[in-house]
Structures are given as structure tokens and as C-alpha cells.
């Protein structure tokens, strides 16, 4: 079996990702269409929340993936800092816009859900506030990559920013456990509970969550390929100027 570190070689990564990309994109499309259609058209209303419960199928997966995307960026950044593999730094860079979009979806759908249920679009609740800060960290991370011309320096500084932002990513997930207050309810999906929500809501939610996960994977693979090409392009242009 190939060592994990072989994928630090851009050629090996490009070949493997080219093979994986159609599969991950296909599974993502299938899961998203199945989960969203099932959730929207074929699930009943909740006895308390009415039809707004259907927002769960876009809100919860995007919120989970917003945090997971940052944690993936953290792992990739640590690999860069420790082992200096360029592909890992580029993968972290590639993941940021996707994670930022998931964060915006979670914030927007949360506000749309909160207004009819809580009577307000926004509240300075621990979980909502930590998600807003996570969104600002995503913006800062992307801006820092663009602001620094030297890619190695950019990777170093963004890795530090990613490490600091991880505190907020973790707070976003466990805000309710830490503070035990605020409007937002507890975790909808949890590994340590035998029964999460009623099965009629749970099955399409898990399928949609898988769809968001595979979509993230497909987009990160695709965008990392682009970042690798962009890096080669930059190197070739620099060579031309030197000649």
C-alpha cells in the first residue's frame, strides 16, 4: 500500500485526485439530490416547528461542514508546518472558500429559521457569535493568502492564523457545552446518543450530510489541482523573466 506521504508529490496527488474526483463528485450529487428531495418533499412537519423543520437539511450539514472544513485546514496546515509539503498547504488554501460558503449557508439559514422560531434574525448567543467569528476567520485566512506574494511565507502565516482560528471552530461546535445558555438548541446529531432525532428526519439528514461531505471532498481535490497548476504557472513565468 502506498504511503500517505507519497501524496505530497504533486504528480502523485494529481494522478490520484483525477481518479477520485469523478467518484466523489458523483456520490456528492447523488446524496445531495436524494437527501434534499427526500427531506423537502417526503418528510412530515414537526409538531412544534411546523414546516420550518425542513431547513434542517441545509442548515445542519452546512454548519457541521463549516467546522470540519476548518479542522481539515488545521491538519493540512500542521503537515505544512512540520513536514513542509507544499500540497498540504495548497489543500488548506483550496478548502477555505468552500468552508467559508458552508459558514455563510449556516448563518443565513440559521437566521431564516430563527426569525419564525425565536422571533429574531440574530442573537448574540454563544454558538451564533462563535460562528460569525469563524466566518471572519475564513475571510481573514483567504485575504492573508492573497496579500502575501511569497507562497511559503503565505503558507506559514496562514498556518498560524488557522491554528488560532481552530479555537473558534471548536467553540462553534461545543459552545452549548461550555456555556450552557443561549437560544440555540443542543447538537442535532451526536455520536454519544443512541437516539438523535426521529428516524423520519434522521435518514434524509444523514444522506444530505454525506452529500455535503463528499461535495467538500470533491471541491477540495479539484481546487487543490488548480492551486498546484497555478503554482507551476507562477514558477514558469518567473523562469521566463529570469531568462
Amino acid at each position: 500500500m502506498a504511503s500517505f506521504w507519497e501524496y505530497a508529490n504533486p504528480r502523485k496527488f494529481m494522478a490520484t485526485s483525477a481518479f477520485l474526483l469523478p467518484w466523489t463528485a458523483g456520490i456528492a450529487g447523488l446524496c445531495l439530490v436524494t437527501g434534499l428531495v427526500w427531506g423537502f418533499f417526503f418528510t412530515p412537519d414537526d409538531f412544534r416547528q411546523g414546516s420550518t423543520v425542513k431547513i434542517i437539511y441545509v442548515h445542519v450539514p452546512s454548519a457541521i461542514m463549516a467546522v470540519n472544513a476548518w479542522l481539515m485546514m488545521l491538519v493540512a496546515s500542521l503537515i505544512w508546518v512540520i513536514r513542509r509539503h507544499h500540497v498540504s498547504a495548497l489543500a488548506a488554501k483550496a478548502a477555505a472558500p468552500v468552508g467559508m460558503v458552508f459558514t455563510v449557508i449556516a448563518l443565513a439559514t440559521g437566521a431564516l429559521w430563527g426569525q419564525p422560531m425565536w422571533g429574531t434574525w440574530w442573537e448574540w448567543d454563544p454558538r451564533l457569535t462563535s460562528f460569525l467569528i469563524l466566518f471572519l476567520f475564513y475571510l481573514g485566512y483567504m485575504a492573508l493568502w492573497e496579500a502575501i506574494d511569497n507562497p511559503d511565507s503565505a503558507a506559514d502565516l496562514t498556518a498560524v492564523l488557522c491554528l488560532v482560528g481552530s479555537v473558534f471552530a471548536i467553540i462553534s461546535r461545543y459552545a452549548l457545552v461550555f456555556w450552557n445558555q443561549g437560544l440555540h438548541q443542543g447538537a442535532t446529531l451526536s455520536l454519544d446518543r443512541e437516539q438523535n432525532i426521529a428516524n423520519v428526519f434522521w435518514y434524509p439528514l444523514v444522506i444530505t450530510l454525506a452529500g455535503f461531505g463528499f461535495l467538500f471532498l470533491a471541491l477540495v481535490l479539484y481546487r487543490t489541482q488548480t492551486e498546484i497548476r497555478a503554482r507551476r504557472l507562477k514558477a514558469l513565468i518567473a523562469q521566463e523573466r529570469m531568462a
Binding site: 434534499l36 423537502f40 418533499f41 412537519d45 411546523g50 414546516s51 420550518t52 425542513k54 431547513i55 441545509v58 442548515h59 452546512s62 472558500p97 468552500v98 460558503v101 455563510v104 449557508i105 443565513a108 439559514t109 431564516l112 429559521w113 426569525q115 419564525p116 461535495l215 471541491l219 479539484y222 481546487r223 489541482q225 488548480t226 497548476r229 497555478a230 507551476r232 504557472l233 514558469l236 513565468i237 523562469q239 521566463e240
Partner: protein, 52 residues
Amino acid sequence: MMPDLGTYAVPVLSSYGVSLILLFAVIAASIWKARRIRARLEQVESRRDRTT
């Protein structure tokens, strides 16, 4: 076919609308950037091949 969303039709439909628009936007932006970089790289590589 369309479920009866009652008084919550606007927030539910808006949530799905916003989510789908943003997901399609990030996919479209990724494809657009990939095509632009690939075309530029092919251009530079072919120029380099001609000169060597």
C-alpha cells in the same frame, strides 16, 4: 407534489434558495478558475516548448 409549507413558506423556500445559489456559485467559481489557470498554463508551456 409541492408540500404545504403553510405560514413558513418564505423562510423554508428562502433557505433552500440561498443554499443552492451559494453551492452552485462556489462550484461555478471553482470550475471557472480551474479553466482559466489551465488555459494560461498550456499557453506558457507551449511557448516554453517552442523556445527550447
